[in-house]
């Protein structure tokens, strides 16, 4: 069952990721990216990261991608023009070379990761909101506060950038 779920959602993630890169229209890419994030949330659940799976859906697929779609619609971004001035070699060699690169990378990862018992659902239960929250507010309190300052600065920067006219 685990392996079936992994293969199903991993293929959804890879398919949608290829779609993100291949599609010429930004709105199609954005919706495919939402697909990647949803599939990754299921994989997080399989890995026992309940809180991160929920945050993935809420923060990434919910907030960040809505921001993207909002900007795409605001700018009325159309499809990309056909790539002019790009050599044909890139087009024909790119995909095979990319596949070979991924194959080599997979081989190296396969070789270098020790074969353990593997990942099965329910074996690790340290990813509940309680565990994450306890760690976040004890050991990682200072980085947590630093991120709050970072988000504040980002909000101010976004407001300043979006309203200023640069001559």
């Amino acid at each position: 069952m685990d392996i079936f779920l992994f293969i199903l959602f991993a293929s959804i993630a890879v398919f949608c990721a290829v779609n993100v890169v291949v599609q010429t229209h930004p709105i199609t890419s954005a919706l495919s990216l939402v697909g990647v994030m949803g599939a990754l949330a299921v994989l997080y659940l399989l890995l026992g990261a309940e809180f991160i799976a929920a945050a993935q859906i809420v923060v990434y697929a919910g907030a960040i991608m809505v921001l993207f779609v909002f900007v795409i619609m605001l700018l009325n971004a159309g499809g990309e023009a056909k790539s002019a001035g790009r050599s044909q070699m890139v087009r024909w060699l790119g995909i095979p070379l990319f596949t070979i690169f991924i194959g080599l990378l997979s081989y190296i990862v396969q070789r270098s990761v020790p074969a353990g018992p593997g990942v099965s659902f329910g074996q690790f239960t340290g990813g509940t909101p309680r565990d994450v929250g306890r760690l976040l507010f004890t050991q990682y309190l200072l980085p947590f506060e630093a991120t709050s300052v970072l988000v504040l600065i980002a909000i101010l920067g976004a407001v300043v950038l979006a309203r200023k006219e640069i001559e």
Binding site: V20, L47, F51, L74, E80, V109, G116, G127, L136, A158
Partner: protein
Amino acid sequence: MTTAVPLSWYLILSAILFGLGVAGFVFRRNIITVFMSIELMLNAVNLSFVAFSYQLRQTDGHIYTFFVMVVAAAEAAVGLAIILTVFKNRATLEIDEVSDLKN
């Protein structure tokens, strides 16, 4: 009956997603698509963090994933504001036409 999934499969999936993100970042010319490729790379790294967190039976990887999400949110807000400003001033989204810092 559950069959365990090898940890390396998760890492390989993460590598594939990261590679696709790099390909999109390098080859696409629409600023928004390039930006989405960066998000794809961040997601791939998050998957690695969570997979290692499972392997080591520690929650620390989840915390790092959480921080990456916060940074991604901040980056998306500022980056999209920059894209808006670029579009307001130049009326284009092609990265090849925004080349003031070249040379």
